[in-house]
Symmetry: C2
Subunit: 252 residues, 2 copies
C-alpha cells in the first residue's frame, strides 16, 4: 500500500518537474521569437517609408496623365484613385507595424520576466511543501516501525496504537498526493496561461492584418476600371478628338 | 481667309509641340517612379526574408504548445495552422515582389528607351513635313502675289490663272491643316499609349497583390479558433485533467 502511494506521489512530482522544466527550457524559444519579431517589425517600418515614397512617385505619374493636353485625364483619374486606395493600405501597414510593437513585442518581453518569476516561485514552493511532507511521512513511518517491533516483542496490547499510526502514515500520503496534484494543476495552468497570454497579444496584431483586407477588396473595381480605360491604346477617346475640335473653334 | 487658315495650322502645330514637349518633359517623373519602385522592391525582398525567419520562430512557439506534457496541444495546433496560413502569405509576398520587378520595373525601364526614340521620330518627321509644306505655301503665295501685281497693271486676262493660283494656295493650306491634325493625333495616341502600356505592366502586379487577399480571408476563422481556445486561461481543459488521471492509472 505504502509503495503504491509512494510511487504515485513520485510520478506526480515527476510530472510537476517536467512541466516546470519545459517552461524554464522554453525561454530561448520565446527570446528567439521576440528577436525575429523585432527584426520583422523594423523591416516593416522601413517598408512603410518605401511605400510612401513609391506612392508619391506613382501620384506624379497619375498627375502626368491627368494634366496632359491630350485625352488621358480619364486614365489619370483612375490612377489617382488607385494611388489613394494604396495610401489607405500604407496607413494600415503603418498601424500594423505599430501594433506589432506595442501590443505584442514589448508586452511579451515584459511578460517573460513575470513568467520566470512565477515559474521559480512555483518550483520553490513545491520543493518546500514536498520536502516537508516527505519528512513528516518518514518520521511517522519510523514511529510505526518502532511500534511494530515493540508489538512483535509482545509488550502489552499495542495494536490500537499501531493501527492509528499506520492510518496516520496513510493519511499523510493521501495529503501529499492531493498537494502534488494541486501543484501539477498549478503548473499546467501556468503553462497554458502563457500561451493564452501570447494569443491575447497576438490578436490585435491579427486584427490589424485582417483590416488591411478591407482596403484590398476595393482594388478589384479600380483594377477593372483601369483595364477598361486602357483596352485600346491606339483609339483616341472622344475627349481627345474634342481637344482638336475645340482648338479649331477657339482660333476661328 | 489665308490668315484664318494660317492661324489654325499654327495652333495645331503648337498643340503638337505641347504634347511632344509634355512627353519629353515627363522622363524625370518616370525615372523617379522606376527608382522608387526599385527601392520598394528591394525592401519587399528583405521583408520576405524577415517574414520567413519570423515564421520559423513562430512555429517553434507553436511546437512548444503542441509538445508540452500539459493540455496545450489544442492551442499548439491552432497556432500551427495560423503559421502555415502565413507561410502562404509569405509565398504570395515573394511572388508579388518578383512580379513587381519582372513585369513592371524592368520592362518599364526598357520601354522608356523606346518612348524616347518614338517621340524624337514624331518630332523630327513633323518638323520636316511642316517646313516643307510651309515652304511650298510660301512659294505659291509669292507666285500669286506676282500674278496679282501683273493683273493690276492690266497685262492681258490673268484672272483665270490668278484664280487657279489662289485655289492652289488654299488647297495647300487645307493639306497642311490635315497633315497637322494627323500629327497631333499621332502625338496624342503616342501619349495615351504610354499610359496604356504603363497600366498593362501594372496589372499583373495588382493581380498578385489582390491574390494575397485570398490568403488573408482564411485568417478570420483561425483567429476565431484561437480566441475560443484561450478564452479562459485559468481553466484546464479536460485533456489536461486527463494527463493527471492517466498518470495515476499508469502507476497503479
Amino acid at each position: 500500500m505504502e509503495t503504491v502511494m509512494e510511487r504515485e506521489c513520485s510520478a506526480l512530482g515527476g510530472l510537476f518537474q517536467t512541466v516546470i522544466g519545459d517552461m524554464k527550457g522554453s525561454y530561448p524559444v520565446w527570446d528567439d521569437f521576440i528577436s525575429k519579431a523585432s527584426k520583422l517589425q523594423s523591416q516593416l517600418r522601413t517598408t512603410v517609408v518605401a511605400v510612401a515614397a513609391f506612392l508619391d512617385a506613382f501620384q506624379k505619374v497619375a498627375d502626368l496623365a491627368t494634366n496632359s493636353r491630350g485625352g488621358t485625364r480619364d486614365i489619370g483619374s483612375a490612377l489617382t484613385r488607385m494611388c489613394m486606395r494604396h495610401r489607405s493600405i500604407e496607413a494600415k501597414l503603418r498601424q500594423f507595424s505599430m501594433v506589432f510593437l506595442d501590443c505584442l513585442i514589448n508586452p511579451l518581453q515584459e511578460q517573460m520576466e513575470e513568467w520566470k518569476r512565477v515559474a521559480n516561485i512555483l518550483d520553490k514552493d513545491h520543493a518546500k511543501e514536498y520536502k516537508k511532507a516527505r519528512q513528516e511521512i518518514k518520521k511517522r513511518s519510523s514511529d510505526t516501525l518502532k511500534l511494530q517491533k515493540k508489538a512483535k516483542k509482545g509488550r502489552g496490547d499495542l495494536q490500537p496504537q499501531l493501527d492509528s499510526a499506520m492510518q496516520d502514515v496513510s493519511d499523510k500520503y493521501l495529503l501529499l498526493e492531493e498537494t502534488e496534484k494541486q501543484a501539477v494543476r498549478r503548473a499546467l495552468v501556468e503553462e497554458r496561461s502563457r500561451f493564452c497570454c501570447f494569443v491575447s497579444m497576438l490578436r490585435p496584431v491579427m486584427e490589424e492584418e485582417m483590416s488591411m483586407l478591407g482596403e484590398i477588396t476595393h482594388l478589384q473595381t479600380l483594377a477593372d476600371d483601369l483595364k477598361t480605360l486602357t483596352m485600346d491604346p491606339h483609339k483616341l477617346p472622344a475627349s481627345s478628338e474634342q481637344v482638336i475640335v475645340d482648338l479649331k473653334g477657339s482660333e476661328c
